[in-house]
């Protein structure tokens, strides 16, 4: 089987508009969560979120192009451009894939169209409403921009979408179906209607995202995108490309039990599955980037799943929950959290988790807090897991290491 590596990464997220600024903010433990700047904010009960600030799409796209781009696809395209600029695209376009995760697709477009016809009584919406709001729009836009004519599709598995997308790209590369992929995720759900829907579930925090911490009171929404260039280790080495990480394992499982309450067994099987797929044991794991939403239900289930997989060592594996920094990016969460996993690989440090108030006895984990923590990745213990667990019980875990 072929080895698969990441040679390019790009992003637009609440912490930064490119890879370097995002990694710097993560390393500094800077949280982008703050007051939401949205119309009719007074009618929302939750008024905080992690927005992409200072976003001027007209600096990235001309007017004709922009007419076809929801905020979701704008983020995705700019992230993809950065990833391609970093890695280059050397493979045959017909054997190059684009696989993008998203939970909501062009929700801002949909929200605006519904508002126009229902609230404003208008009789028509923008003619490009459909090509903007399709879940697959970002994947199509990326394929068009770079002329990639191989497999192109979107993956939608709620908050696990990105990990499913990146995992599928990994499997297709490993199996020899394709020679390169742009994979990741994008989300732009911070619209009035999108937030209203979330408000109803009563799982959003009014003040901060505090994963695994005493006193946590819910999740905080974010938005943005991250896109990676994946290719075979052989091709990357042959052309002298800089390798950011090797993807060594992937596993997806389903709880098949509840639409919103996670079952630790499904998460445990996904973590164990990713390790088995990589051909390494639990002792090889040096760090975990948690799903870590800051909800009581997720954090307890995730800690229980870690105990199931790692036994007594579960409480000693350094854990980061970067949603406390960039918010919960839904279908883009796994992609932006994979950026956080590049920090230990590239700079030998683990980013801290923000919002921590003190230990929660229900979550006996070694959470990295306050400031970045140095980590030595060794041959015996150098594997990093990135967890994504979605509503509806859909679990996807990626395993990485230095190439």
């Amino acid at each position: 089987m072929r080895r698969v590596v990441i040679t390019g990464a790009g992003t637009v997220n609440p912490l930064g508009h490119d890879l370097d600024s995002s990694l710097q903010a993560m390393a500094a433990g800077h949280s982008a969560i703050g007051p939401l700047d949205l119309p009719e904010i007074d009618r929302l009960s939750v008024k905080i979120g992690a927005q992409v600030q200072g976003w001027h799409p007209e600096t990235h796209f001309n007017t004709a192009r922009l007419a076809l781009l929801d905020r979701n696809a704008q983020f995705a395209l700019v992230a993809a451009r950065q990833a391609v600029a970093m890695a280059g695209l050397a493979a045959d376009p017909a054997r190059s894939a684009v696989i993008m995760g998203t939970a909501g697709g062009g929700l801002t477009t949909q929200d605006a169209a519904f508002h126009a016809v229902y609230a404003e009584g208008k009789s028509r919406v923008h003619p490009f409403t459909v090509p903007r709001l399709m879940n697959s729009a970002a994947a199509s836009q990326i394929s068009i921009e770079f002329g990639l004519t191989g497999p192109v599709f979107s993956v939608s598995s709620a908050c696990a979408s990105s990990n499913h997308a990146i995992g599928l790209a990994f499997q297709m590369l490993r199996a020899g179906m394709i020679d390169a992929a742009l994979a990741g995720g994008s989300e732009a759900m911070l619209s009035f209607g999108g937030l209203k829907a979330w408000e109803g579930l009563r799982v959003l925090s009014p003040d901060a995202c505090r994963p695994f911490s005493a006193g946590r009171n819910g999740m905080v929404q974010g938005e943005g995108a991250a896109v990676f260039v994946l290719e075979t280790a052989e091709a990357a080495t042959a052309r002298g490309a800089n390798i950011l990480a090797e993807v060594i394992g992937f596993s997806m499982t389903s709880d098949a039990s509840d639409m919103v309450i996670p079952n630790p067994d499904g998460a445990a099987r996904a973590m164990a599955g990713a390790l088995a797929d990589a051909g390494v044991g639990p002792d090889a794991v040096a760090h975990i980037n948690a799903h870590g939403t800051g909800t009581a239900a997720n954090d307890r289930a995730e800690a229980a799943a870690m105990a199931q997989v790692f036994g007594p060592r579960a409480g000693k594996i350094p854990l980061t929950a970067s949603k406390s920094l960039h918010g919960h990016l839904m279908g883009a969460a796994g992609a932006v959290e994979l950026l956080a996993c590049l920090l230990p690989l590239r700079e030998g440090i683990l980013p801290p988790t923000a919002g921590y108030l003190g230990p929660d006895p229900a979550c006996p984990v070694d959470l990295v807090v306050t400031s970045a923590r140095p980590i030595a990745l060794t041959r015996e213990r150098g594997v990093i897991l990135s967890n994504s667990f979605a509503f509806g019980g859909l679990n996807a875990v990626l395993a990485l290491r230095r190439a």
Partner: protein, 94 residues
């Protein structure tokens, strides 16, 4: 007369809440005593979220509740009687 009207209104509120709870728990409203705990009626935090939605829509009020930590809710929602009292207080403050 005014007091009588208020009492009748309070009884209607209580009856509506009992009906909403009974629909959620699939029980006879008459079986819902004031001291019955919602958790014992089989209403978990998710069912409570749906119950509160129905109550808020019925009475045009907003009931503060965070499903992450039901125990730390600012209002007492633990029993049928406590929920009715909370709703009546929120209606009065409307």
């Amino acid at each position: 007369m005014r007091i009588e009207r208020q009492m009748r209104a309070a009884e209607t509120v209580a009856a509506t809440i009992r009906q909403i709870l009974a629909d959620q728990a699939r029980l006879d409203p008459a079986a819902l005593g004031d001291n019955a705990r919602l958790a014992d009626l089989g209403l978990d935090s998710l069912a409570l979220v749906e119950t509160l939605f129905a109550i808020e829509e019925s009475f045009d009020i907003s009931v503060p509740f965070n499903a992450n930590d039901p125990a730390q809710s600012a209002d007492d929602l633990a029993t049928v009687g406590a929920l009715i009292a909370t709703v009546q207080r929120l209606i009065a403050a409307r």
